[in-house]
Structure formats: C-alpha cells, structure tokens
Amino acid sequence: MKPDINIALLNAAQEIINRFSPLIDDEYEKSRLSSWGAIILISAMKFNDSSSSLKQENADILDWLLKFTNLDEDDISEYGYEVTSEIQDISLMDTDNQILRGLLDRQIIVLEGNGDTEGLKASYTLMRAMHGRRKVSDLVGLLQQSES
C-alpha cells in the first residue's frame, strides 16, 4: 500500500504553512503562500469523498425528480441523462450533475407556481443534503487552528 493522495496533500499543506511560509519576509507573499497551504489542506480533507458525494448527489436528485414531479425516466433521458448508466468517471458524473441540477431548478419553479408546500419542503431538504456534502465552510475552524 502506498500513502494516499490526500495524505500527500495534507503533508504538503503542513510544510507550506509551518515550514516555508515563515521563511518569507514579504508580508504579501507570505500571506499568499499561507492561503495556498490552507487551500491544499481543504482539498486534502475533501479529496477522498468527492467522487462518492457526487454520485450520491446525482442519485438523490434523480429520486426526488421521480418522486415529486411528473417526470419519468424517459423524460429525464431526453435531457441527456442516462438513468440506468453506471458512470464512474468524475467529469462525466459532473456533466450529469449539471443536467440534474438544471432539472431540479426548473421543477422547483413549477412547485413554486403550484404552491406545492410539501414538494418545496422536500426540495429544501434535498438541497440541504446536497450542500452539506459539498460544503467546505465547516473546515473554517480547522484552518484557524492550522494558522495558529
């Protein structure tokens, strides 16, 4: 077993923040390098989950569309999303994700127009779950710790 990519990134971030940044006298360059360290740190923390999170997000949107809208699998396929495909490549999953997000947005407009509170409530729950998996803002505390 080789060390994982996220471990490599974590160590790189630590080296940048604790070892190289203090060597720089110019305040601007020092802050800029430390910011790169923080960004690498965040990337390392999210790296392992990014693919599975995207896959889950696509599955969740699809479930919601089938449950709370009039769209069926054929309708969704017409927009370019292959409901039955088992895509593993992250860039293709990302393309699918944009198709599904576009459909979600359009269907929320329909629910708003119909005053469908239940459907809207379910869409907010879905969007909160999507946001929860994607967000990196929960790492702010960690960044502050690394800076200090």
Partner: protein, 334 residues
C-alpha cells in the same frame, strides 16, 4: 511589477509635492480583490516621514468599479463624523502608474479578518457601539450636491430592483454551474419586493467587519468604498448584519454586539425607523449579492484571469456560507 511601480510612484510623488523624496518602504497588503493596495513610507526634508496608502486598479478585478467612485465616496465624508483617510490624489488614466489609482494618508490602526471569532476582544462592546453608530451616520449625512449628482446617473428606481438586477446579472454571467438554492433565493426576492426608502442615501456597499481600522477600543477608519452608490440605507445595514461575518457566533453580528442592540444603535444614529420586513428582504439580498461576488471570484480563478488564492478561497468558504444563509431564509419563509 512592484519594483517598477515603486520607481514610478517615487517620481510621481516627488513631482506632486514638489520635493525630492526617498522611498523608505513600499509593501503590498494582502487581501481585497478589487484593488492592489500598497503601504508606503516616503522620506523628505530632514526626518520627515509620510505614511501613505496607494490603491491601484487591478488588471483583473472581481467587480469592475471606477477609481472615481471610491474617491468621491471618500470625499463625501472628509471632515465628518465618519472616519475616513485624508485624500491626496486620484488619477483615472494609466499614464502615471500604469493603472488608475488613488492616494491617501495612512490611518493608524489595524483591520481584522472577518472570519476570526472574538477578534475584537476585549473591546467588542465599545467597537460595536461605534461600528453601528457610524453606519447610521453614513445614512444620515446629507451628501454635498455635486457629489450626489455624480452618483445620481447610476441610480434607477426602485432601488431594490436596481440592485437586484445588477447582482442577478453578475450571477448569471459568471456562474460556473447551476445552483438551485441561489436561483430560488433570487426568485423569492423578485416576488416579494420591499418598500422604497423615505430618503435615498449614500450606501457604502461593503460595510462589514474587516473593512474598518481600529486601535484598541477606537474605530479609526472606514475603508473600501469602491462599491459605494446611492440607494436604500437598509442595504448597508443588512450586509453588515449578514451571518457570514460572524458565522461562529451568529448572535453577535460582525463578532461585536448582539443584533437587537446593533439595530437600536443604528436607528438612533440614522434617525431611520426601520421596517423589519424590509430589513429581512435586504438580508436575503445581502446573501445573493455575496454569492454574486464569490461566484465572480471563482470565475476569475477558474478562467485563469486571476489565480490569487483569495479568489478560490472566496468561492469556496464564503460561497458555502451564503448558500446556507439563503437556504435558511427560504425554509423560514415556507
């Protein structure tokens, strides 16, 4: 670039004050994505040292704003109860320093990171009282007629639509992908507009924690007026109150004093009796405007136009926070 800029600056400044000068220091300050800001020490005569701040327009900046806007806004509050730096010069052309710029005297004090909790401790109460009171003073001030007229051309009424159209356009032009939360937030604002203000005032445009200087328990300067415009004073209040500026302690906006106390101080200082429903609209608007700025930053980074890490950081952290704020609003309104 800094070496070239520093020598250009030295020659320009010697000409401006009609004295031979020597450059003692010329340092770029980190942060801010619309201007490059330099802290400068210049010596002339015997033992005379001047501390200056130079703001230079960037080749690639998030929100395109004229140097003149910021200069006029600072001009409007010179010698007023709103502490601002003394202005020395401004140029809108690129002949002198290679880009438009503005020159000011440096004020004493430091600016804090808006994302650090308890950063103002143990002076958060005194600073909080000043912070909200000064914001009220900005709204209360009668703006000199010629300056008011300069800003008037940008004003289209209703104010809320003028601002919402502007920022929604940025969102739709710069978005890298579809964000249903943000789109739902924008629709909600268009569907439930606020009332127009009784009086059009100067709006700072980015009044928040991190954009003021302080020295222990005293606010010494209000900075970063490049997004100043005429409009509804609730826009500034809502932006400053946004939970993003006190994400780890939402009860104390800007990590200063409690929200209700802040609003009361602002009302007393501005002489404006606010409508809570209208404030709520502007609070949701603040999150949309924030998203537009963070999306714009992400676009600059992704396109390679400006790979300053602050642009990526803006798209990631503040972008996440404001999306969550929008979702909170939507759920509360359902």
């Amino acid at each position: 670039m800094p070496e070239e800029l520093s020598s250009l600056f030295l020659s320009y400044y010697s000409k401006l004050i009609e004295k031979e000068c020597i450059l003692l220091s010329f340092e770029r300050i980190f942060g801010g994505a619309s201007r490059e800001t330099y802290k400068i020490e210049v010596g002339h005569d015997v033992n005379k040292i001047e501390r200056l701040i130079l703001r230079v327009t960037q080749d690639s900046s998030l929100i395109e704003t004229d140097q003149k806007t910021e200069y006029l806004a600072y001009s409007a509050y010179q010698d007023s109860s709103v502490p601002v730096p003394v202005l020395l010069d401004m140029s809108e052309d690129s002949d002198i320093l290679g880009a438009p710029f503005m020159l000011m005297k440096e004020l004493q004090g430091a600016a804090a990171s808006p994302f650090t909790p308890n950063v103002y401790s143990p002076h958060e109460v005194e600073l909080g009282e000043q912070f909200w009171s000064i914001l009220g003073e900005i709204a209360k001030k009668e703006i000199q007629e010629d300056i008011f007229k300069s800003f008037l051309s940008e004003l289209k009424e209703p104010c809320w639509k003028n601002e919402l159209d502007k920022w929604a356009k940025v969102v739709h032009e710069d978005s890298i992908g579809v964000e249903p939360i943000l789109e739902a937030g924008i629709r909600s604002l268009y569907k439930n507009p606020p009332k127009e203000p009784e009086r059009i005032t100067m709006v700072h445009g980015d009044y928040r924690s991190g954009n003021f200087l302080y020295l222990e328990n005293q606010i010494t300067g209000i900075l970063d007026w490049e997004m100043a415009h005429l409009g509804n004073p609730l826009e500034d209040l809502a932006w400053a109150l946004s939970p993003i500026w006190s994400w780890q302690d939402k009860e104390r906006p800007a990590y200063l004093i409690e929200k209700e106390q802040a609003i009361e101080i602002w009302q007393n200082s501005s002489n404006i009796n606010l409508d809570r429903k209208d404030l709520e609209w502007w609070e949701l608007f603040a999150a949309i405007k924030g998203m537009a700025i963070w999306i714009s930053a992400g676009n600059e980074f992704k396109s390679g136009k400006n790979i300053d890490p602050i642009n990526l950081f803006s798209a990631w952290i503040p972008g996440d926070i404001h999306l969550e704020v929008i979702l909170d609003f939507l759920e509360d309104r359902l």
